[in-house]
């Protein structure tokens, strides 16, 4: 690949990849590492890239896999399932689903701190977090998300919804505990 072609790919996909990485990782250093390794792997396996698909989506898929690999290693240490909605402590699905308290959700749009949203996102299990970020932050379609996460559209639909409910619950808990200044 010519350097000019690589520079084009970087311009087209760099910001999107970095934003996705940042939302997944929650900090700049991990986001940089994720992006660097994603580009490295993409170019190392450029032969398996299907040019009829968007390079950006392919790159996000690689980045997502790297993120999951790292999360799995941590999960093994902590014995936490990737799909387990564990981060919201003491919350059953009955607590989460009915959305009894709308005020916290309403607060989100006039939230004084974007960091609260990021913190709520960070509490999600990896699969839910990736689905919500790709849908609500990156604005991608369910079909594209399914390709990136290598899962059926029905599974993606479920992860997006449950991820939103968990994010809402996490936000409410952050509010109750004094937010990010706790």
């Amino acid at each position: 690949m010519e350097p000019e072609a690589f520079a084009d790919l970087l311009r087209q996909s760099g910001d999107k990849a970095y934003n996705f990485a940042y939302r997944l990782a929650g900090n700049e250093q991990d986001a940089r590492d994720l992006v660097q390794e994603a580009f490295a792997r993409a170019l190392g396996h450029i032969g398996s890239y299907d040019p009829s698909r968007a390079f950006g989506s392919w790159l996000l898929r690689i980045l997502h896999n790297i993120f999951l690999d790292g999360t799995r290693r941590l999960a093994h240490r902590r014995t936490v399932s990737l799909d387990a909605p564990a981060p919201v402590e003491d919350a059953s699905w009955e607590d989460i689903l009915p959305a009894k308290d709308m005020s916290a959700a309403d607060e989100l749009i006039r939230c004084e701190s974007i960091d609260m949203i990021q913190l709520a996102l960070e509490r999600l299990p990896p699969h839910y977090k990736a689905a919500v970020v790709l849908c609500d932050v990156e604005g991608m379609s369910y079909d594209d998300i399914a390709r990136i996460m290598k899962a059926p559209v029905g599974t993606i639909r479920s992860r997006i919804h449950q991820g939103r409910l968990l994010a809402r619950k996490a936000y409410e808990e952050l509010e109750r505990s004094g937010g990010i200044r706790q």
């Binding site: 350097p3 690589f6 520079a7 970087l10 760099g14 910001d15 990849a17 970095y18 934003n19 940042y22 939302r23 700049e28 986001a31 940089r32 992006v35 660097q36 390794e37 580009f39 490295a40 792997r41 170019l43 190392g44 689903l97 959305a99 709308m102 959700a105 309403d106 989100l108 749009i109 939230c111 974007i114 949203i117 990021q118 996102l121 919500v132 970020v133 849908c135 609500d136 932050v137 604005g139 379609s141 369910y142 639909r157 479920s158 997006i160 919804h161 449950q162 939103r164 409910l165 994010a167 809402r168």
Partner: protein, 157 residues
């Protein structure tokens, strides 16, 4: 009133990811269900909050570093990401397995070679090669040596 809208279907409705038929069914249901309308509003607010978070842009120094590494030439810039700590033990194991298998094969071959004929042949050729001491004196061959043609200088050189 019909049952409440299934949660994932409500999210899909919010995201515009439903086919016309289920979408129409949900619209009809929500016209008479305040709970589902409230839940949809809550999800919409959450989606708006998430999507309005400022987007992070790739730091310029990172983009520059990636470009430089790519352009740096001979050695692939992603080479450092390969993990020698994984390949070194694998290589050592491969070498060890190859050496042991070669040794086993060689040892088996040695066992299969019959030594007796080899020893007999060695003894026979050794006996035939014996030369009497008189025949080792050069002066006995002067006639034959004198008959030899002179070597040219070029041949000597």
């Amino acid at each position: 009133m019909t049952a409440h809208v299934d949660g994932p279907e409500l999210s899909a409705y919010l995201d515009g990811a439903l086919a016309p038929e289920p979408r129409a069914r949900i619209v009809l249901h929500m016209s008479s269900c305040a709970d589902c309308r409230a839940e949809l509003d809550s999800l919409r607010h959450l989606k708006l909050a998430l999507s309005s978070a400022p987007r992070k842009r790739m730091p310029a120094d990172l983009a520059l570093a990636l470009e430089r590494r790519f352009a740096s030439g001979a050695r692939p810039w992603y080479a450092p990401l390969t993990k020698p700590m994984i390949w070194a033990p694998a290589g050592a194991l491969t070498v060890a397995v190859t050496a042991v298998s070669l040794w086993l094969r060689f040892a088996a071959t040695l066992d299969e070679i019959p030594l007796e004929p080899l020893l007999a042949a060695h003894a026979r050729y050794s006996a035939e090669a014996l030369v009497h001491e008189d025949n080792l004196v050069a002066s006995n061959y002067l006639d034959q040596l004198n008959d030899l043609p002179d070597a040219s200088e070029s041949e000597i050189q």
